[in-house]
């Protein structure tokens, strides 16, 4: 692990250099996550064995991010594409990356059923409490009181529900062999450890593996660097970091 952390100021080897600098906004948590994911893929030496499915929304900006096969799908649909691909190509390590809208709203049905069936794919949902590509609308993950363009007076839990807890829900229906966790980009050591487990559980246990990652969105939060980290800390209180697997591994 320390080996990869030491390289934080360099770029992962599996990056597609031609797609850099990336199209992500300054301060975006998704590009931070993708960098850590790249380091872990290097570390596990699986660049040649990996296939990635991504959604639309901000995740589509990763369509050529890495030097391995990537397919950009529709909102919430990278999970069923990954399920169909893995079923047809069992030796590949198959990942899906979505935002919290793709995972917990429009694509929740597919996410839950992939977990329920224990499809051996690794799913990453990046939670920034909003719909970012479309300009900062309320998401299921928006925190009560959070101001967005579709909750201008603050999210009212009476109408829109409280903050949606994805990993906690998935835990209820998943197999004991599934890996389920939540990380935050504020803690890169823990984030890398959990990314690694999310991939290793697919490889070693042939099981569904799920990681939610808390990520800042300064553009839509309209926050400065320090304000972004303050809001991320608030999110970490609402969405506890940690592993939620049923059996200890």
């Amino acid at each position: 692990m320390t080996k990869t952390i030491d390289k934080n100021f360099s770029m992962p080897k599996c990056f597609n250099e031609r797609s850099k600098p990336s199209l992500y906004c300054p301060g975006c948590g998704q590009s931070i996550f993708l960098k850590h994911l790249g380091f872990i893929i290097d570390d596990l030496e699986i660049q040649g064995k990996t296939t990635l499915g991504i959604d639309i929304g901000c995740s589509l900006l990763a369509w050529n991010f890495f030097n391995f096969d990537i397919v950009q799908t529709h909102h919430g649909r990278s999970v069923p594409v990954a399920v169909g691909y893995k079923l047809s190509n069992k030796r590949r390590i198959v990942m899906s990356i979505m935002g919290d809208g793709g995972g917990y709203a429009i694509g929740l049905q597919s996410l839950l059923h992939a977990a329920f069936r224990n499809n051996p794919i690794s799913v990453f949902v990046l939670n920034n409490t909003g719909y970012s590509m479309t300009g900062g609308q309320m998401a299921p993950t928006s925190i009560p009181g959070e101001i967005t363009t579709t909750s201008p007076s603050g999210k009212d839990p009476k109408n829109s529900g409280k903050a949606f807890h994805g990993p906690e829900l998935i835990k209820q229906i998943s197999d004991n062999s599934a890996y389920i966790a939540r990380a935050s980009v504020s803690n890169p050591i823990m984030l890398q450890k959990m990314i690694k487990k999310t991939l290793e559980n697919q490889i070693k246990n042939n099981s569904f593996s799920f990681l939610e990652v808390l990520t800042p969105c300064p553009t839509n939060w309209k926050t400065t660097a320090s304000e972004s980290f303050n809001f991320l800390s608030k999110m970490e209180k609402e969405f506890p970091i940690g592993e939620m697997t049923k059996n200890e591994k």
């Binding site: 296939t51 397919v71 950009q72 069923p80 169909g84 691909y85 590949r92 597919s110 059923h113």
Partner: protein, 352 residues
């Protein structure tokens, strides 16, 4: 691959059984679907076959959207994958199909048409013609076949895989509940050498495949659409097909497809027996239409009858291709209801 002896035993089959056998003979390897009448027996029949044959894969998904996207996942891995659906399931399926149109993926679907809008009826219609042909957002390009007998369901269920993989456009076979559920003695003798599939995500570390359906500029995307349209235009003459029956000397030309064409074929004989020079033109491809043959025969005829179990969906397609026939065309439609040969014969007799 199924051997001849095996097929002989199964020759008394339904349209949905013919679809499963045809797909297997077309080298299909993977099925994803969600139960919906009247297409369900394709899902059931495939699973039964998959339990006997380890090379066949399947998943009953949570909905039609997931079924379609899982088909896409499987074909990205180079597998000949398909789905079967109907009605409102077919509506949901447009989400993955539009992705397949954008990324030129060889998506294959069998659509057993039922009545609509909405849940409609569970049995029969020809009302999914527009949806199957033009259901996507944007100028989607697809290939759509319409079968008019169980043996043709068998034949075309093989063919759609080769067409999809050869030309890389989503390809569909339209049937209907009558065709899907009727059990008839069927010759399963036609065999096509399947066009091979290949990995679309090629798993090359140095030259990774990056597929997207979203573009940053109008010009960049427009160039891709122009290329796709040019590719589609160049396949029209190779793919479009139609059958004509006693049409070359006909004064009264019936144009119909699917089950209606099957009834119309008998009505041509009924009309000919009473000295009415009727003929039938049956498009086998709904999209692209065999416009050359339609034009050639329709312009010659004194009157044209376009008959369908939908409200002018088929008629609009035909008249758009041969606008000169508009004034001499009688449009006969019964949305979501079938026609008998006698009925078609008397409807034609009334108008001549």
């Amino acid at each position: 691959m199924i051997d001849g002896g095996y097929l002989e035993k199964l020759s008394y089959i339904t349209g949905n059984e013919a679809a499963v056998l045809g797909a297997i003979n077309g080298d299909a390897e993977c099925f994803f679907g969600y139960p919906i009448t009247p297409a369900t027996e394709i899902l059931e029949g495939w699973i039964k076959k998959a339990e006997e044959n380890n090379n066949l894969n399947y998943l009953q998904t949570e909905d039609e959207i997931a079924a379609g996207f899982a088909v896409i996942g499987a074909l990205l891995a180079g597998k000949k994958a398909f789905t079967a659906t109907a009605g409102i399931g077919h509506v949901l399926m447009q989400d993955p199909i539009s992705m397949a149109e954008n990324e030129r993926l060889p998506f294959v679907g069998i659509i057993a048409q039922r009545g609509g809008p909405s849940t409609g009826t569970v049995i029969y219609s020809q009302q999914e013609l527009n949806l199957a042909s033009y259901g996507g957002n944007g100028d989607g390009l697809r290939i759509v076949y319409s079968a008019s007998s169980v043996s043709e369901v068998y034949y075309l269920s093989q063919k759609i895989f080769s067409i999809a993989w050869k030309y890389r456009f989503p390809t569909f076979l339209l049937t209907d509940g009558y065709l899907a559920k009727q059990r008839v003695n069927t010759k399963l003798e036609k065999y096509l050498k399947p066009f091979p599939s290949s990995k679309i995500l090629r798993e090359m570390k140095d030259k990774p495949t990056h597929l997207r359906n979203c573009y940053g500029s109008e010009i960049e995307f427009a160039n891709i659409l122009k290329r796709n349209i040019a590719d589609y235009k160049s396949l029209i003459n190779k793919v479009s097909e139609s059958e004509s029956y006693k049409a070359s000397d006909s004064k009264y030309l019936i144009i119909a497809h699917g089950s209606v064409a099957s009834a119309a074929k008998d009505s041509v004989d009924i009309l000919r027996n009473s000295n009415v020079k009727a003929g039938l033109l049956r498009p086998i491809t709904i999209r692209p239409l065999d416009s050359r043959n339609i034009r050639r025969l329709a312009l010659k005829a004194e009157k044209v009858f376009i008959i369908e179990s939908a409200f002018e969906q088929f008629a609009r397609m035909i008249i758009f291709k041969v606008p000169e026939i508009a004034n001499k065309t009688v449009k006969i439609y019964k949305p979501a209801e079938g026609f008998t040969p006698d009925e078609i014969a008397s409807l034609v007799n009334e108008k001549i």
